[in-house]
C-alpha cells in the first residue's frame, strides 16, 4: 500500500482511445498488494488492454475468487461490474452471468491456488463449455496470502522460502486447458508487457474461453533462489514462441507473409489475430501439434510463452446450448416470465 492514492493526472498530449477516455479512466482502487508483486503488472496490462480496445468500462464484467490475485479485480476498471465469489467458484458465477447476458465482456482473474486446487473442477468445466470469457490465471507457484506454502503449480524440486523442497508434480494450467478443449490457450509473464497486453487483447476479442497462464512472481514468498517462479528464473528461461497481436477490423492491413513466421487468424468480430512466430515450424492452430510442443517443454527449465493454441471455430456456450441471444434484462417481463400456466405446460413435457 502506498502512502497516498495514485493521483489522476491529465498530461499535455495525453493519448485518448476511440471513446475519448484516457488510460487512467481504466484504473481502479489502489493496490494493497506487496510492492513489486507481479499481479500489479498484470492488472496494469489488463487496464491497458481494455483501454486500447476502447471497451466501455461499464460494459465489462470482472469476476474472481479468493487470493491475492483475486483481489486485483478491484484495482482496474472501477466502473465495471464485478463479483468476488466464494473460493474457487468464480467459473460458475461467470458461466451464470454469461448465460444471462452474453453482450458484455467477461474477464476472470484468479491464481494458481484458487484455480488449480480448490477450484480446479470449476475451471475445467468452464473450459470444456467454452464460456466466452478471458480467464487470467496469475501463477506464482505459492500460496502468498497464507504466507508461502507450495501451490499445485509448484515445480518438483523447487524450494520454499525456508528451504523445504516440493516433491509433488505440478499441474500445468496450459496442458490442462489443452486436454479439456479450451479454444484459446496462452502463457505470459508479468514482466513482459510487450507480449502480455496484446495477448490479453486477443483473448478478450476471441469468442470462447481464453486462458492465459501468467507467470506472476510473488516478491514476498517465492522470489528466492530455488524458486522456479521468481523474476530471476523466469527472465532467465523465458522463451517467446508465438507473439499475438489483435488487429481490429477497421485497421486491418493485408500483407503477404510467406516466411512461415507470420500467420493470421480471423476472429468473429471481423478482426484478426496476427501471429508472429519465433519457432517457424510451430502451428498454434493445430491442437495435437501444439500439445506435443507444450508437453515437450514441461519438466524442462524452458518457460514457453505466447499464444500457444487457438481455435476460433469452436462454438461457445451460447451457440452450443442454443441460448437466448438477447440479454435477459432486455427481454420484456411478460416474455421472460410467461406465467404459471406456461410453466405447467413446460413441466408436462418432463413427465
Amino acid at each position: 500500500m502506498s502512502s497516498f492514492i495514485k493521483p489522476k493526472i491529465r498530461r499535455k498530449n495525453e493519448p485518448v482511445n476511440d471513446l475519448g477516455l484516457i488510460r487512467s479512466d481504466y484504473d481502479g482502487a489502489m493496490s494493497t498488494l506487496c510492492a513489486g508483486c507481479g499481479h500489479d503488472s498484470v492488472t496494469a496490462a489488463m487496464g491497458r488492454a481494455f483501454f486500447e480496445l476502447s471497451i466501455e468500462p461499464h460494459r465489462a464484467v470482472k469476476v474472481s475468487g479468493i487470493g491475492c490475485s483475486s483481489k486485483t479485480t478491484s484495482y482496474f476498471l472501477k466502473e465495471a461490474h464485478g463479483n468476488n465469489t466464494v473460493h474457487g467458484r468464480m467459473p460458475s458465477v461467470a458461466t451464470g452471468a454469461f448465460a444471462a447476458n452474453a453482450d458484455l465482456t467477461y474477464i476472470g482473474v484468479s491464481g494458481d491456488g484458487d484455480s488449480l486446487s480448490i477450484g480446479v473442477g470449476q475451471l475445467i468445466h468452464a473450459m470444456r463449455r467454452n464460456v466466452n470469457m478471458l480467464y487470467v490465471l496469475e501463477n506464482n507457484g505459492v500460496y502468498g496470502l497464507t504466507k508461502g506454502q507450495f501451490s499445485a503449480a509448484a515445480d518438483i524440486g523447487s524450494t520454499a522460502k525456508k528451504g523445504a523442497v516440493n516433491q509433488l508434480p505440478p499441474i500445468d494450467p496450459v496442458a490442462l486447458a489443452m486436454s479439456v478443449g479450451a479454444s484459446f490457450v496462452a502463457r505470459g509473464f508479468s514482466g513482459d508487457r510487450e507480449q502480455l497486453v496484446p495477448l490479453i487483447k486477443a483473448g478478450l476479442m476471441h469468442k470462447g474461453f481464453g486462458l492465459i497462464d501468467v507467470i506472476s512472481p510473488c516478491v514476498s514468498f517465492n522470489d528466492h533462489k530455488g524458486s522456479t517462479k521468481s523474476y530471476e528464473h523466469t527472465y532467465k528461461y523465458y522463451h517467446k514462441s508465438v507473439h499475438a497481436d489483435y488487429v481490429p477490423p477497421s485497421k486491418e492491413i493485408k500483407a503477404a507473409y510467406d516466411d512461415g513466421k507470420t500467420m493470421d487468424v480471423e476472429l468473429h468480430d471481423g478482426g484478426t489475430i496476427r501471429l508472429r512466430k519465433t519457432d517457424k515450424d510451430y502451428d498454434p492452430t493445430n491442437r495435437e501439434h501444439a500439445m506435443k510442443r507444450i508437453m515437450a517443454s514441461g519438466g524442462s527449465d524452458e518457460v514457453l510463452t505466447g499464444l500457444l493454441f487457438i481455435d476460433e471455430q469452436q462454438p461457445d456456450l451460447h451457440q452450443r446450448k442454443n441460448m437466448e441471444d438477447r440479454p435477459l434484462n432486455e427481454i420484456p417481463y411478460a416474455e421472460l416470465n410467461p406465467g404459471a400456466a406456461a410453466l405447467k405446460e413446460l413441466q408436462k413435457g418432463f413427465r
Partner: protein, 600 residues
C-alpha cells in the same frame, strides 16, 4: 545510448525547473518546505543566500521561475513562487543577528561601487563581510537605484526596500549619497583596488515624431517615474496616453491613476500576444480600468499653441501565420486620440557619458562597454560591470546574479588569482526516506489550484501613492499554496543493480514517465516506448545503466515526473530512492583555494 551522468550537478539542477530558470538559482522548493513548516526566518535566510533581497523580490521579481514551474505541465497555473517568497519575508522574525557582521578589521582592499542599486549592493553584500572596504557612490539622495526610482511605492513599499538595504549597510558598507561619479579617470586616481559599475540603463528612449519638439507634456517613462519617486512630480493631466506595453508602461499607467489621471490609455503597436509586460502586471493594470488599445502605431503629436492636445495613430492590421508570427502588416486608417499628457515607455538604453573613451575601457559598436559574460570584467583590469549596466536592461534578479559573479571576480582580482578559475557548483544528494512509505517531504500530490492574491479595494488604493496594492497571502492561502509545490528538488535516484524488473514503478507512475526498454542508438528510439513520447526542449531523458536480469535499461522522461515518490514506494528492492538534492553554489566567500580569513 550511454547511461546518464547524474554526477554532473547540472543534471539534477535542471530538473528543478524553477531553480534552473532563476538567474540566482534560488532553491525554491527547499524554502517553500521551510514555509510549510512555519520556519519563515529560515526560509528568508535561505532565500537571502542567493537572491539577497527576498522582501523586494517577493513583490516585484520578474519571476522567471514561475513560467518554468513543473506544475504548469499538469495544470494551467504555476506555484505562486514569488508570493511565497513574500510570505517568508513578511512572517520572519528579526534576523539581524543571523547576518554577517561588520568585520573587526579589513583586508585593506578598497572597492568602489557606482550606483546604489541591486547589483552594487549584492557585490557589497558578498565582499564587505570578507573584509573588503566597499564604498558605494550614488547620485541621488536615497539608495535603491531602479528599485526605488522605477518601481512605484504601491508595488514596493519604501520600508521593505530600506530594511533590506540596511542589512547590507550594517556590514560596514560606506554609502555616499548625492555623490555622482562624473569621471572614470578621476575615480582611477582615488586608489581603489577594483571598481564596479552598477549604474543601470538610465536612458529612456524618446520618440521623435512630428510635433515632438514643439510641445510640452511629453515624458520619458523612467525619468517621469523617477521624478514621482523623488517627489518632484505629484500630478498629471486627466487624459493620459502611455506609449509602449512593457512593465514600465504598466507602472506609468498605474502611477498616473494615482496622480489624478481619470482616463488612461496604453497604446500597443501589436496584438496582445506580442506584449512585453508580464501577464500579472497587465492583469493588475487592467483591474484598475486602464484601457489597453492594440494595433495603434504612433504617428504624430498634435498641439495647439505649444500645448499637447492629442496624438495621431495609424491603425494597423497584421497578417499572422499559424505559428503566431507576423508575416505582413497594412495601415488601414488613422485615429486621433485627445490627451493632456503622453508618457513614453518604449525601452531604455545604457549610457555612460561619465566614462572617458580613453579610460582604457573598450566600447562596442553600440557604444556599450565590452564586458566578459563570465567574469563581468571590462577590457580594463579591475573594472567590472553588472546589472543593467553590463548587458542592457534585464531585471532585478539578474542584477543580483551579476553582483554575485562580479564579487567573485573582484575577490580573485584582489587576491591576484585567475578570474576564470571559479569553484564549480556541487550537488549533494540526501535520501529523504524515513521508513516504509515515509519521506521527510510531503510527497502526496495536492490538486489545489493557485491561490488568488487579495488586493486593496479600489477606492482606498488611489488615495495615496504609496498604498501597497497586494495584501500578501493569508495563512490559509499560503498553507494551501505551499502544498502545490511538487518538490522537484527531491530527485528520483535509480540504482540499476538493485532492480529486478518487476515493473511496479512503471505501473504506479501517475504520469507514465518510466519504461524498461532494450538498448537503442538514439533518444528518439528509446522514447518511442513512452506513452507520451515527444521530447520537450530543455528536458532530459534519464537513461540508466544495464539492468542485471535482462541487460535492458530503465528510462525516465524528466519532463513530466511529479516527484511524488510512488515509484520508490512501490519498489520492492529500493532501487528507486527519493533524495533531496542540495545545490551548493559558491559565492565569493566560498571560492577555492580558501582565502585567508580577513575578519579575524
Amino acid at each position: 545510448m550511454k547511461p546518464t551522468d547524474t554526477a554532473n550537478p547540472d543534471y539534477f539542477h535542471k530538473v528543478v525547473d524553477c531553480q534552473w530558470a532563476c538567474p540566482a538559482h534560488t532553491p525554491v522548493p527547499a524554502y517553500i518546505r521551510l514555509i510549510a513548516q512555519g520556519r519563515y526566518s529560515d526560509a528568508y535566510m535561505l532565500n537571502r543566500e542567493s537572491n539577497v533581497f527576498p522582501g523586494v523580490l517577493g513583490r516585484v521579481c520578474d519571476r522567471p521561475c514561475e513560467p518554468a514551474c513543473r506544475r504548469t505541465r499538469v495544470e494551467e497555473d504555476p506555484v505562486a513562487i514569488c508570493r511565497l517568497k513574500r510570505v517568508a519575508a513578511d512572517h520572519r522574525d528579526d534576523i539581524t543577528d543571523r547576518l554577517p557582521k561588520k568585520p573587526k578589521t579589513t583586508n585593506g582592499k578598497k572597492i568602489a561601487l557606482i550606483g546604489a542599486g541591486p547589483a552594487s549592493f549584492t557585490v557589497a553584500n558578498d565582499l564587505a563581510p570578507m573584509g573588503y572596504e566597499c564604498t558605494i557612490f550614488e547620485k541621488f539622495g536615497k539608495p535603491g537605484g531602479l528599485m526605488r526610482s522605477n518601481i512605484p511605492a504601491f508595488r514596493l513599499p519604501e520600508s521593505v526596500l530600506m530594511e533590506e538595504i540596511g542589512y547590507i549597510l550594517d556590514m560596514g558598507v560606506d554609502l555616499k549619497l548625492n555623490t555622482p561619479v562624473e569621471s572614470m579617470s578621476w575615480l582611477y586616481e582615488q586608489g581603489y583596488d577594483a571598481i564596479f559599475v552598477g549604474t543601470g540603463a538610465p536612458k529612456g528612449k524618446d520618440l521623435n515624431l512630428d510635433g515632438r519638439a514643439e510641445t510640452s507634456n511629453i515624458h520619458i517613462g523612467i525619468d517621469w517615474l523617477e521624478s514621482v519617486a523623488f517627489d518632484h512630480t505629484d500630478k498629471i493631466g486627466e487624459n493620459v496616453i502611455i506609449i509602449g506595453v512593457g512593465n514600465t508602461a504598466m507602472d506609468c499607467c498605474r502611477t498616473s491613476l494615482r496622480l489624478g489621471a481619470k482616463n488612461v490609455k496604453v497604446m500597443a503597436r501589436k496584438p496582445r500576444a506580442f506584449f512585453k509586460a508580464s501577464p500579472w502586471e497587465l492583469e493588475d493594470a487592467e483591474e484598475e480600468d486602464v484601457n489597453i488599445l492594440i494595433n495603434h502605431s504612433p504617428k504624430s503629436f498634435v498641439h495647439e499653441n505649444g500645448k499637447l492636445t492629442g496624438m495621431v495613430f495609424e491603425n494597423i492590421e497584421y497578417d499572422i501565420d499559424d505559428n503566431g508570427k507576423i508575416v505582413g502588416q497594412e495601415v488601414v486608417g488613422e485615429t486621433l486620440i485627445p490627451c493632456d499628457d503622453v508618457i513614453l515607455a518604449i525601452g531604455q538604453d545604457n549610457a555612460f557619458p561619465w566614462i572617458e573613451r580613453d579610460a582604457g575601457i573598450e566600447f562596442d559598436k553600440w557604444d556599450v562597454p565590452v564586458v566578459d559574460k563570465t567574469t563581468f570584467e571590462s577590457t580594463r583590469k579591475g573594472v567590472f560591470f553588472g546589472g543593467d549596466a553590463a548587458f542592457g536592461p534585464l531585471n532585478i534578479i539578474w542584477a543580483v546574479e551579476h553582483g554575485h559573479q562580479a564579487a567573485i571576480s573582484i575577490h580573485k582580482h584582489c587576491q591576484g588569482t585567475d578570474l576564470m578559475d571559479r569553484t564549480p557548483d556541487e550537488i549533494t544528494l540526501e535520501s529523504t526516506k524515513m521508513g516504509m512509505n515515509e519521506w521527510r517531504y510531503s510527497n502526496a500530490y495536492d490538486s489545489s489550484e493557485r491561490r488568488e492574491m487579495e488586493h486593496v479595494d479600489m477606492v482606498k488604493r488611489f488615495q495615496k501613492l504609496d498604498t501597497e496594492v497586494e495584501l500578501g497571502f493569508t495563512a490559509e492561502q499560503f498553507a494551501t499554496e505551499v502544498q502545490r509545490c511538487l518538490n522537484c528538488d527531491v530527485h528520483t535516484v535509480f540504482e540499476p543493480k538493485l532492480c529486478e524488473e518487476c515493473d511496479a514503478c512503471i505501473d504506479i507512475c501517475p504520469v507514465e514517465c518510466l519504461a524498461i526498454v532494450p538498448h537503442a542508438e538514439t533518444e528518439a528510439e528509446l522514447r518511442a516506448d513512452l506513452t507520451v513520447s515527444e521530447k520537450v526542449e530543455g528536458q532530459d531523458l534519464y537513461v540508466s545503466g544495464d539492468l542485471p536480469l535482462t541487460g535492458r535499461i530503465m528510462i525516465k522522461d524528466e519532463n513530466v515526473c511529479l516527484h511524488c515518490g510512488l515509484c520508490a514506494e512501490r519498489c520492492p528492492t529500493s532501487a528507486w530512492d527519493m533524495a533531496e538534492g542540495i545545490l551548493e553554489i559558491h559565492h565569493a566567500d566560498e571560492q577555492e583555494p580558501a582565502h585567508a580569513e580577513a575578519a579575524e
